[in-house]
C-alpha cells in the first residue's frame, strides 16, 4: 500500500510545471467567472422576484454550462495531457525498468488522473461560492448576499458530474495509451461532441447510451426520456460506471499484454 502511494506521489511530481495543473486551476475558475460575467452584464434581467433564491439561477447556469461539452472536453484534455507526459519524454522504458510491477504503474496513473479530476471539483466549489458572493457585493440588487446557496445541492451536482465523467475518463485513458499522438483522442472527442449535439437535437433515445452526453443529462435530463433512478443514480450514470469498468479492463489488458511505450 505504501508503495502504491509512493508511485502515485511520483505521478503528481511528474505533472509539475505541465499544462495539466493550469488546466485544473483555470478550468475550475472559468465557468464561475463566466457565469459571474453574465450575471453582471445582464443583471437587470436576473433580479430575483420576491422570495426567489437567486443562487438557484446561479447554480442552474453554472451547472448547465459545466455539463454542456465543457466538462467532457476538460476530462478528455486532462487525460491526454496526463498520459502524454510519458509519451512526450519517451520515459516509458525507464518506468518499465523500475522495480515496480506494471499493475502498480497502471493503477497509479489511473488513480492520479481521478485525483486530478477530484481536485478540479475541490477548487471549483470555493471559486464558485466566492464568485457568487462577489457578484452579490458588486450588484446588491441581485440579492446574492441576502440568500445563501444550497451547499448540499452544489456537492450533489459535483458528485454526479464526477460519476457522469467516469465513462469518458476510461475511454480516453485507453485511447491515450493506444495512440501516442494526442491529436487522435482529441479528434475522436470532437467527433463524439458533434454526435452528441446531433442526438440531442434529434431528441434521440439513444442518448442514454452515449457517454459524451452524460454530463449534460445529469444537470438537465432529456425530457423525452423517462428518467429511471437506481438508488441515488440515474440510469445514464450507472452506464457511465459500466463504461468505466469495461474500458478500464480493456486498457488494463492492453497495458499489461501489449503496451511497450
Amino acid at each position: 500500500m505504501q508503495n502504491i502511494i509512493k508511485v502515485i506521489s511520483t505521478e503528481f511530481l511528474k505533472s509539475k510545471k505541465t499544462f495539466a495543473w493550469w488546466l485544473v486551476i483555470l478550468g475550475a475558475g472559468f465557468m464561475p467567472a463566466f457565469v459571474s460575467f453574465v450575471f453582471l452584464s445582464k443583471w437587470k434581467h436576473l433580479v430575483p422576484q420576491q422570495g426567489h433564491n437567486p443562487w438557484e439561477d446561479f447554480t442552474e447556469m453554472s451547472s448547465k454550462g459545466l455539463g454542456f461539452l465543457y466538462m467532457p472536453f476538460f476530462v478528455v484534455l486532462l487525460t491526454c495531457l496526463f498520459l502524454n507526459i510519458e509519451h512526450k519524454n519517451n520515459t516509458w522504458k525507464h518506468v518499465f525498468t523500475l522495480p515496480v510491477s506494471k499493475n502498480y504503474v497502471y493503477f497509479s496513473k489511473l488513480t492520479a488522473l481521478l485525483l486530478f479530476i477530484i481536485m478540479f471539483y475541490i477548487l471549483y466549489i470555493p471559486i464558485w461560492i466566492g464568485c457568487g458572493f462577489m457578484v452579490g457585493l458588486i450588484k446588491p440588487e441581485l440579492q446574492l448576499t441576502t440568500y445563501v446557496p444550497d451547499y448540499l445541492l452544489l456537492l450533489s451536482i459535483c458528485f454526479h458530474s464526477f460519476i457522469a465523467s467516469l465513462g469518458i475518463v476510461a475511454i480516453h485513458f485507453w485511447l491515450s495509451l493506444r495512440f501516442k499522438n494526442m491529436i487522435i483522442p482529441i479528434g475522436i472527442a470532437v467527433l463524439c461532441g458533434i454526435i452528441w449535439v446531433a442526438l440531442y437535437q434529434g431528441r434521440s433515445e439513444q442518448i442514454n447510451y452515449f457517454p459524451y452526453s452524460y454530463n449534460y443529462s445529469t444537470v438537465n435530463p432529456p425530457n423525452w426520456i423517462t428518467l429511471k433512478m437506481f438508488g441515488v443514480f440515474p440510469q445514464h450514470e450507472l452506464f457511465s460506471i459500466l463504461y468505466f469498468i469495461i474500458f478500464s479492463i480493456l486498457s488494463h489488458r492492453y497495458f499489461m499484454r501489449s503496451f511497450k511505450g
Partner: protein, 301 residues
Amino acid sequence: MTLIETQNLDFSFNKGEAVLKDINLNVKQGSIYGFLGPNGSGKTTTIRLLLGLLPCKKDKIKLFGQNLQADRISIFSKIGSLIEQPSLYEHLSGFDNLEITRRIRNASKSRIDKVLQLVDLKPVSQRKVREYSLGMKQRLGLAIALITEPELVILDEPVNGLDPNGIIEIRELLLKLNKENGITIFLSSHLLSEIEKIVTHVGVLSKGEMVFQGRYNDLKELQNNSATIHIETSDNQKSLDMLARKYPSTFSENSHIGLRYQNKEQIATICRILVESSIDVYRMQVVDKDLENIFLEITKN
C-alpha cells in the same frame, strides 16, 4: 558469480527475420563488459531483452542467477540502467528527475546529493533538464541509474554523441564506480576505441550473432597474432622462395613480401638467411593491426 547469462537467446520482430541468433552472454561480477557491434547489429535489442522491454521465451535470460520473467522486481531493484538516449522528464529539474526514481526505488534522500556530486551536476540540479547539454543529460541519466547503489549497471551507448571531454569524464566515472564501489558494468558501444581503455571483458556482436566473447586481453592476443613482418629486398622472388621453406605463411604483396610475426628472434633469423644468400635487405618492418581493424575484421567476417 555470473550476473548476466543468456542461453541461446533468439529474437525477431517479424517471423523469419531473426534479429538475434543464439546469443550466449556471460557477464561476471566485478567486470566491465563492453558489448560491441556496428550500428544495427542487435546491441540495443539485446539490452531491451535484458531489461524486459521486449518479450522473450522463459529461462533464456538470467540475471543474478534469477529468471528475468519470474523475479523481475527483485532483479530490477539491483540494476541501474540507461537505454539509448536517457529517459528524462525534460520539463522538470535534474533534482526532480532524481526524486521520482528515488521515491520508487526507496532510496534515502541523501543519495540525491551524493549522485549529483558524483556526476558533477550539483550546481545545475535545479535547472530544467531541457536546458541541459547532451553530456549533462547523459550524466543525469547515469545519476538516475546509480541512485540506489546498484550491483549492476546496464548502459546502452553511454558516450554516444558526447565530445571527447564528455567521453573521458564518463569513462573515468565508470572506472571509479567499478573500482571503488565494485559495481559490475555492462555497456554497449559501436566504437571499440571509445571503451577499450576501461573494459575487462568484451563481447562482439555482428548481424545478430556473437562473434567474439572473452577477456579484453584475449582480444589483444588476437591483435598480436595478426601482426606481420613486411620485408623489402633486392630480390623479392628469391627471398620469398627461401623464407617460404621455413615460414609457410610467407606471401608476396606489391613491392614487399610478408610473413606472420612470431617474436623478435624471428627477425634476426630472417635477416641472417637473407644476408647469407647475398640478398640486400632494404626494409624490415613489423606491422601491427590496431584493435579497431581487428574489430572490423571480426564483424565483417
